[in-house]
């Protein structure tokens, strides 16, 4: 008997949620019709993003927040993204280890995912996974990613509240604060606060936040929270900051604005992704792309007229001449 995945997801079935996520990962066509049908049931979950360099204790923090949320009887979905090896294509997904205490709790669904080098962008896929959890009835969805590269910044745009985790002694603060982090961080967490250099890091981050806020005249000034996640210290402050940011977004109307922007961006990206997918598939199917490359190499063609030709071929009406 075939499983009605849509109905099952809406009832919160982990089996169905897990399978549709796999289809999303594999860019399997079966995902699309499911996503279309569950879409009307999304938009209820609050989405939290947690990012930071490897070794900052993100999983432990995620575990702590999950614990706090469960104590308030809120259900939680987690998507933990770890990098794939560019050499072997494999991945070690270790975040589950830190979440052992939730592993028998039906109120928590956790999915580990590898970055895989998605041609369509990791963000595309993460968005899908978040929607599945959202439609599956999770009150909170937490996305956890490693690093602060462009991919991660894109992923974080999916979140309503984004937390950037830093630790003393990694020395990457200034670098990461330059690299677009200031733009996405709603909350800073200084984890492993029992380590030397914590106070200094705190002051440094606070200084940059103040500086940035005074220039940009922000209505939300990101708080800086100190935690020792392995001991559960600061977990409640962290949750309080999240709640405060949520309240701010809701009361100021920024949540709707944020979500509208997100739909705008997402829709454009999805169109881009789909067009790209179709064209890529056709060009690779009969090795046409290889012929083109050959001809460009031999200077018979150039990339500019190839682009024009390809686009005209499939989208003749789209060109504004």
């Amino acid at each position: 008997m075939d499983i009605d995945y849509v109905a099952e997801i809406l009832e919160g079935s982990p089996l169905a949620m897990a399978r549709v996520m796999t289809w999303l990962e594999n860019e399997d066509e079966r995902a699309r019709s499911c996503m279309e049908k569950i879409y009307p049931h999304t938009g209820n979950a609050y989405v939290l993003g947690i990012t930071g360099s490897p070794g900052t204790g993100k999983s432990t923090l995620t575990d702590g927040v999950t614990w706090q949320l469960r104590n308030k009887e809120l259900t939680v979905g987690i998507v933990a993204v770890d990098p794939s090896s560019p050499f072997t294509g494999g991945a070690l997904l270790g975040d589950r280890i830190r979440m052992t205490r939730h592993s028998a709790d039906p109120g928590v669904f956790m999915r580990s995912m590898a970055t895989r080098g998605y041609l369509g962008g990791l963000a595309q896929f993460t968005r899908g996974a978040v929607k599945v959890l959202d439609a599956g009835g999770k009150d909170f969805v937490i996305i956890e990613t490693v690093g602060v590269g462009q991919d991660e910044v894109d992923v974080m745009r999916v979140a309503d509240t984004t937390c950037v985790v830093l630790v003393p002694g990694l020395g990457d603060v200034i670098q990461s604060m330059k690299a677009g982090i200031m733009e996405i961080a709603d909350i800073y967490v200084i984890n492993k606060y029992d380590r030397p250099g914590a106070d200094q890091l705190f002051a440094e981050v606070q200084f940059r936040v103040d500086q940035d806020s005074s220039i940009k005249d922000r209505s939300w000034v990101p708080p800086v929270i100190a935690t020792v996640a392995v001991e559960g210290k600061g977990e409640d402050d962290f949750l309080e900051a999240i709640t405060a940011h949520r309240t701010y977004l809701e009361q100021s109307g920024k949540l709707l604005e944020k979500r509208r922007n997100r739909i705008h961006e997402e829709t454009l990206q999805m169109i881009h992704h789909e067009l790209f997918r179709i064209i890529r598939e056709r060009l690779t199917k009969d090795s046409r792309i290889e012929q083109m490359v050959e001809e460009i190499m031999n200077h018979k063609l150039n990339p500019y007229n190839v682009v024009e030709k390809v686009v005209d071929e499939w989208l003749p009406a789209s060109r504004l001449k």
Binding site: G55, T60, D63, L92, G94, R98, T100, V230, G232
Partner: protein, 559 residues
């Protein structure tokens, strides 16, 4: 040890030999691919005085029983008394294990070594849900003082020394042991033995942790402090490299990380205000022995030298006993193969020889069937006889440190010492052992060695008899020792009775008191003794601390 002139001559001689005599042979037949020790230290064709030119006899080797103890901690080593032959044993119920102990003592074994089943080690009672399937499997099921009484029934605890492998729950099991000793009428100053009590390596590699590092270290030091005052000849900790090696480290890493743990314990004791010469003489160690005989001998010699130096220079010990690295050895469990299991007897014999030539204080030899199951009685007997043959027949015991002065062994000893000191430096620079463990540095180093070793076996680059070379078809081995699943049910029923029978009020009072004392900085040992006497089980005592200290949530590092 050699004059400049002699060394010049030898260097020139070796060069000539290499270019003429050796070159001729090499031109006819190439050498094998692997030219390293089992741990991967590169090895040359020939060692001469030139490779150990810097070795100063008096300061680096010296004399047995004297600093830096490279040649041994006793002046005449095995010419006086052999090492303690101590077979690790335990399975099923306390009663079955007691019978095995009495058999082993009857066969000439000179000390006991208790294997507790995993629930006891992890601080759970036999009827806890996590104990399902585990009761009596890899050790004796000991839940309360009643079990401890049966375990040592008719074994005089002031005559036999006992080693107990229990770490995070060490305080509880030692409390039971001491209480049973008192019941037998044994005075504590006559009670001797060792408790493993090494919680750091549980976090690094063995997995039987309960509490986070800080509170678990506090319990470790509580036990050390209590014994220092009340059980003067008890070895309060067995700082263990055995499991580090089993999880894949090299020989040098085994010593380096064990000594790093040792430094952390010594620092914790010093921070408690215990003078170094009061606790250090009772620190003992536990190492592995693999089949590469000469590498192992060098490893043991290097370990003694490094530890002596650390205790003298870093901890300012004055008492020579503080500087002596005394250790138990177990032959390498992971070196045993499930294929052609009788071959393991030979491996264990070589490992025994390596241990004895290295100058140990006690030894457990593995049984040849341990890659298949728990050891059967026949296999245990062969293992014990292996020690007795090496002791009585091999000639290894007739003089002290017989391999000293071998150019190769001295070279390896220096090499391993240097690698160990390098690691200690790195760990110090990270902020110490606890930080290195927390950051997964030690774990990753071990895993990486395990990985490289596995690759060399998979590729066939390194030969392993019966595994990737000299393979043959063989019928499955039968008549294995099995522990009946019924032990679990029986133990659960017994526990129910135990809890019903004890004096509820006294039990509650003792646990309440334990809870209060544990929240302060006071030593918990006296209160733990009261609690176990009042009938508290291992799980109940450990639960009190779980409540106060929380539980260790492991971080796993896969490199």
């Amino acid at each position: 040890m050699f004059s400049e002139k002699d060394l010049e001559k030898i260097k020139a001689g070796k060069k000539k030999w290499s270019e003429v005599t050796l070159a001729k042979t090499l031109s006819k037949a190439p050498e094998k691919k692997v030219k390293t020790t089992w741990s991967g230290i590169p090895v040359e064709t020939l060692y001469t005085p030139a490779e150990i030119a810097g070795l100063d006899y008096e300061s680096k080797l010296g004399y047995p029983g004297e600093y830096p103890y490279t040649r041994g901690v006793q002046p005449n080593m095995f010419r006086g008394r052999f090492w303690t032959m101590r077979q690790y044993a335990g399975f099923g119920s306390a009663k079955e294990t007691n019978a095995r102990y009495r058999y082993l003592l009857g066969q000439g074994q000179t000390g006991l070594s208790v294997a507790f089943h995993l629930p006891t080690q992890a601080g759970y009672d036999s009827d806890h849900p996590l104990s399902m399937g585990e009761v009596g499997k890899v050790g004796a099921a000991i839940d309360h003082i009643g079990d401890m009484r049966i375990l040592f029934d008719q074994i005089p605890l002031d005559k036999v020394t006992t080693s107990m492998t229990v770490n995070a729950a060490a305080t509880v099991l030692l409390a039971m042991y001491l209480s049973v000793a008192s019941e037998q009428g044994a005075s504590w100053d006559k009670v001797g033995g060792t408790i493993q009590n090494d919680v750091l390596k549980e976090i690094i590699c063995r997995g039987q942790y309960i509490y986070p590092p800080k509170p678990t270290m506090r319990l470790t030091v509580d036990l050390i402090e209590f014994c220092q005052k009340n059980v003067p000849t008890w070895n309060t900790i067995s700082i263990s490299g055995y499991h580090i090696r089993e999880s894949g480290s090299t020989a040098a890493q085994e010593i380096a990380f064990t000594i790093a743990d040792g430094i952390a314990y010594a620092e914790a004791c010093a921070a408690r205000g215990i003078p170094v010469d009061s606790f250090a003489p009772r620190l003992s160690f536990f190492f592995n022995a693999f089949t590469d005989v000469l590498e192992e001998v060098a490893k043991f010699r290097a370990a003694r030298r490094v530890w002596a130096k650390i205790m003298k220079d870093r901890f300012k010990a004055k008492d020579p006993r503080s500087m002596m690295l005394r250790y138990h050895v177990q032959t390498g469990g992971v070196t045993l193969t499930a294929q052609q299991p009788l071959n393991n007897i030979v491996r264990v014999a070589l490992q025994t020889l390596a241990t004895v030539l290295g100058g140990n204080q006690s030894l457990h030899t593995n049984s040849y069937d341990e890659a298949l199951c728990l050891p059967t009685q026949g296999a245990v007997t062969v293992a014990l006889r292996t020690q007795q043959i090496v002791a009585e027949e091999s000639g290894a015991c007739v003089t002290v440190d017989p391999l000293a002065g071998s150019y190769y062994v001295e070279y390896l000893t220096d090499k391993i010492e240097a690698e160990v000191e390098d690691y200690i430096k790195k760990i110090d620079a990270m902020g110490g052992t606890l930080t290195a463990i927390e950051q997964g540095y030690i774990q990753k180093e071990i895993q990486n060695s395990a990985y490289l070793f596995q690759k060399s076996i998979d590729s066939g680059e390194r030969a392993y008899v019966g595994v990737n070379k000299y393979i043959m078809e063989e019928p499955p081995v039968t008549d294995l020792l099995r522990v009946d699943m019924k032990v679990g049910e029986e133990k659960a029923a017994e526990l129910k009775q135990w809890r019903a029978k004890r004096d509820k009020a006294a039990w509650q009072k003792a646990l309440d008191k334990l809870r209060e004392v544990s929240k302060t900085d006071a030593n918990v040992m006296p209160t733990v003794i009261e609690a176990v006497k009042a009938g508290a089980t291992v799980g109940e005592v450990c639960d009190v601390w779980r409540e106060i200290f929380g539980q260790y949530r492991p971080k796993e590092f896969i490199s």
